[in-house]
Structure formats: C-alpha cells, structure tokens
Amino acid sequence: MKPEYKIISDLIEKNAKVLDVGCDDGTLMEFLKTNKNVNIRGIEISKEKVQTCIAKGLTVIEGNAEFDLKQFPNDSFEYVVLGQTLQAFINPEIVIKELLRVGNRAIVTIPNFGHWKVRLNLLFKGTMPITNSLPHDWYNTPNIHMCTIKDFVKFSKIINFKIFKSLALINENVSDINNSNLIFKNLFGELGIFLIEK
C-alpha cells in the first residue's frame, strides 16, 4: 500500500460518497471502504486492473478520466480522488475542472518534480531525471505534464480553485505546506497532497 493512502483516508469523512479516478488495482478503494465505510466507485483505464477490482468486489467502470468523467452529473460525489495521475493527462486543466464539477471536493496527489533528487539528477547527469517515483525514460513515460508542488499552488491561482489543505510527504512523514515553508517543501517533498475546492 502506498504511504499516502492513510493520509488520503484521513482527509475523507466517514460514510462519504467517493470516486477514485484511476483507481488502479483498487487498493485505496478497499482501504477507504474498510476505514471510512465510504460508498466508493472507481474509474480505471486498464482492463486488467478493472478485472482485479471486480475480483475484489469493487464497483469500477472501465474508462478514461479525460473523457469519461463527463457522464457524471454535477456534485455526484463528496470527494473525488486523483492519485498521481494528473501529470499523465493531455489537458490537466480540464481534468481538474471536471473533478471539481463531479465532486464537492477533490484530493489530488502529485509526484513532486521539484524534489532535490530530481533537480540534482538533471543538474549533474544532464539527462531527464529517473527516480524511484519517476522510473520511466523520457521516451516511454506516461508523465507528459510533470509539475512541482510550487507549480500546483500557482496553477490553483491561474485556473481559480481553492486549496483547502496541502500536505507534503517526506520519508513517509506528512507535514503541512504553507506560504512560509513552500520553498523548503518544494525541495524535499516527494509527493504533494492537495484537498481542493471550487
């Protein structure tokens, strides 16, 4: 289980209606079901992973978040979770807007491209960074829109959504991000976790 799952779970109220976008093999869905008794649905693009979810008794729709969120009416869910996939979309702006249309709130996690290891990797090797959380080569990575924690905060002002809570994950420890420590968290945070609203 990914270390951020516990953090995501802490951000969600009990018995809430939740959509997990890009739900993968359903590990987070199961975790939320057990811990928060949520009414949870998932969307997943991989047929194989949809099968895994079905085998776990989870309600999952095979689909692409970029096109298939359309089918949900406004405010269908209290929370919509998008875990480490924003960077893989052709148009992250549309995806964020869609998340906040179908959900009252969204929880978005992003692998931080501003992390010091990433920066050093590029600085000293002069090649596209490859780290534990970003294991692909530039030519086969699904991550076409990488951003940093700072970028995401900036993005919230540009496309106009509120960041209700922002957290950084450093060595499996979670800490708040605020204006005064943003530069520090942007350098050391491996993952940014944001609870956002319209």
């Binding site: 047929k47 099968q51 309600t59 999952v60 729709i61 089918q71």
Partner: protein
C-alpha cells in the same frame, strides 16, 4: 409429442395485457431450472435468452440433444454456479420451445395461429416471466442476467420491476435497436417471406416448412454475430474439400459451407414464424423512447447493483451502445460497474469460452452474493 414431456410449463392464469392491445390469459410459459432454491429464497438468478435461445441454458438440451446455449457460463462451479445459485430460464413468449407462440393453436379458430398471433414486445416477454417469481415464492431475485436480446430483457425487467432484483447484468446489448439492427432483422424476415413454403405464415396447415428462407435468415444473422477478423482467421479463403475453384456455385469456400451448415441445422430446431415475431420484438425495443428520450428515468427507482459487459469486436451491439447504458445509470447515481472484454469473436463472444468474460461474470456474482445486498 414426446418432446413436450421434457418441458416444464407454467400456465399463467393471470391476464396479461400486451403492448399491441390484446389481452392473453391461461397461456403456457415453458421454463427450466438448475440448482436449488435455498431456504431464504435469496439465491435465484433469472437468465433471459437471446433471439434463438431457449430455456435449456446448460447441460444437454432434451429436444436438440446438444449442449445448452450457455453451457460455458452456467453449471456446477462455473460463472453462474448452479451449486450455489438457483437458475431459472423461461422460453420467451412468441418462441417455439413450449411457451405461448405462433405455432400454438388459436382456441377460437382451432387453427394454428401463424401470423394471427399477436405481435409481442420485450416488455410483454418480461411481464410474462415475472409470474415465475410468484410461482417459486421468490420475493426478490439475486440477479437477472442476459446477453443480446437477453440483455434487453434485463433492462426492461429492471425498469418494470425496480425492486425485484438485487443485481442486474446486461451483456452485449442496447437500450434501443438501431437502424442497422432493424435492417438485418428485416433481411431475415424477408428471406422467410420470400420462401414459397411460408404461405403467408400458414405453412403449418400444409405440413410444410419454409426451411430455405429460414436458413438464409439464419445465415445472414450468423454473419452479424461474428467479426471480420474472426472469420478471416477461422476461414480465410480456405477451400472446402477441394484443391481448386470449381467455377460454379457450389460451396467452394469453407465459409460458404459453414454458413450453409449453420442454416440447415437451425431449421431443424426453430420455427420460422417465431423468428418473425421475436425479431420484431427486438426491433420494437426502444427503452429510450419508452421514457420520453431520457433513458436514466428507466433506472431512477432501482437500488440494484449493475454490471455491464461489452466486447471489443461486437459490431452488432458495440461497446458505445453498452456505455450509453452505463452513462444513463451514472446520471441517476446508480451503482454500476462496466468492463469491455477483449475478444475477436464478435457479438457471439458472450456465448463462447472467453476466460476474461467468464471470470468477470463469476467474480461479480460471487462477490455481490457475499455482500448480502438488501
């Protein structure tokens, strides 16, 4: 007929008002069951058959002596596990395996109905089958399952009886028959009508059958059940028991021979007038129109858990038409899962041994049953 001895029949006494306006009562509904109903009566699954199916879902069909049409999916330890669930399937009204249909005698005229039989709809079919629940004392089914026209019945059933099932699995189907679907059905009907033996539907009186027309109808339909890739891989341009083309119109190619065979075996087991009536019922199916253009309204009163399955190479009821059902369900916040199964076997995939399909079906049913849904 000795065949009839193997057919279980419920005589439905309650009047049923058909969509065409006529009312029928005391009509036979032929059915078969597999497995056993548990003490709580909460393990029943109603399976709906497709156009040319019947109530003999699995095991050896006592009439045709062949495997039941869904033997891959239904049986001991299979996806629809008869060790666990009580499976019920009825022959649709309009059919020819014992249920009230055009080959039955009209009590008023003492003659076989033929085309005097009332035109029936998918709605009429499910309204006839709901009587099976009372008959078995089942308050709520665990699931309703069906592919193709069976899937249409699943959708119609849940719209008519939103609280009569805990789960629903429409497979490879549509909420509204498309122009292309109607066109292929019309081709089949015209093939039957063009057979001189059909005699405006009165062939029974003359003791003949429009076998040529019915065989052509089946051949045309059979092509729509397969994919281009599947056909190409199985037959290609392979020749039938010959080394070279014969410069004639015999079946030179294996695909020709295969289709002719499919046509010929079909006429032995199916009634031409039933084929007309059932294809008509499919063509008239338009759940979107029944709910004034908003399919979601068909599902707004149900709490049932849905699982929708389509197949990549199915061009008769393509994935998008199945997804439209998912979209309509999501619009009313229904509990719906969806998967598209990779297969090059076309629409027929739901009847075949497609491991990913059978696995998904089994997992959905078994996990849902364990959940003890209300």
């Amino acid at each position: 007929m000795s065949i009839k001895q193997n057919i279980k029949t419920l005589i439905v006494e309650k009047p049923l008002k058909l969509d065409c306006g006529q009312t029928i009562n005391n009509f036979p509904l032929a059915y078969e069951t597999y497995g056993s109903l548990n003490h709580e009566k909460d393990n029943a699954i109603l399976v709906f058959h497709a156009l040319t199916g019947d109530q003999f879902v699995t095991g050896i069909n006592p009439v045709t002596k062949k495997d039941g049409w869904w033997s891959y999916a239904v049986g001991s330890g299979k996806s629809i596990d008869t060790d666990k669930y009580f499976v019920i399937c009825a022959n649709v009204i309009g059919g020819c395996m014992g249920s009230f249909g055009p080959s039955h005698e009209n009590p008023k005229t003492k003659k076989i109905y033929g085309t005097d039989f009332p035109v029936i709809t998918i709605n009429d079919m499910v309204n006839a089958q709901i009587n099976l629940l009372d008959f078995f004392g089942i308050k709520k089914l665990f699931s309703i399952v069906g592919g193709s026209m069976g899937g249409m019945q699943v959708l119609q059933f849940i719209s008519n009886y939103p609280n009569k099932t805990k789960t629903a699995i429409p497979i490879a189907c549509t909420s509204s028959h498309s122009a292309q679907n109607i066109a292929f059905n019309e081709l089949g009907r015209q093939a039957i009508a063009a057979d001189h033996n059909w005699s405006d539907g009165n062939y029974n009186l003359k003791n003949i059958v429009p076998d040529k027309g019915l065989a052509v109808a089946r051949m045309a339909a059979h092509i729509t059940y397969l994919s281009k890739k599947g056909l190409q891989e199985k037959f290609g341009r392979k020749l039938q028991e010959r080394d070279d083309l014969k410069f004639g119109f015999d079946a030179d190619f294996q695909i020709e021979s295969y289709l002719r065979y499919q046509g010929s075996v079909f006429v032995d087991r199916f009634d031409a007038n039933s084929y007309l009536y059932i294809t008509r019922a499919m063509d008239y199916f338009d759940l979107v129109k029944q709910f004034n253009g908003n399919l979601s309204d068909a599902f707004k009163n149900t709490k049932a858990k849905f699982f929708i399955i389509s197949f990549t190479s199915d061009w008769l009821y393509p994935t998008q038409e199945n997804k439209d059902i998912v979209i309509a369900l999501n619009a009313v916040g229904a509990n719906v899962g969806f998967v598209e199964i990779e297969s090059d076997k076309g629409h027929d995939s739901f009847l075949l041994n497609i491991p990913n399909f059978l696995k998904a079906l089994k997992n959905f049913l078994d996990k849902s049953y364990a959940e003890k849904l209300s």
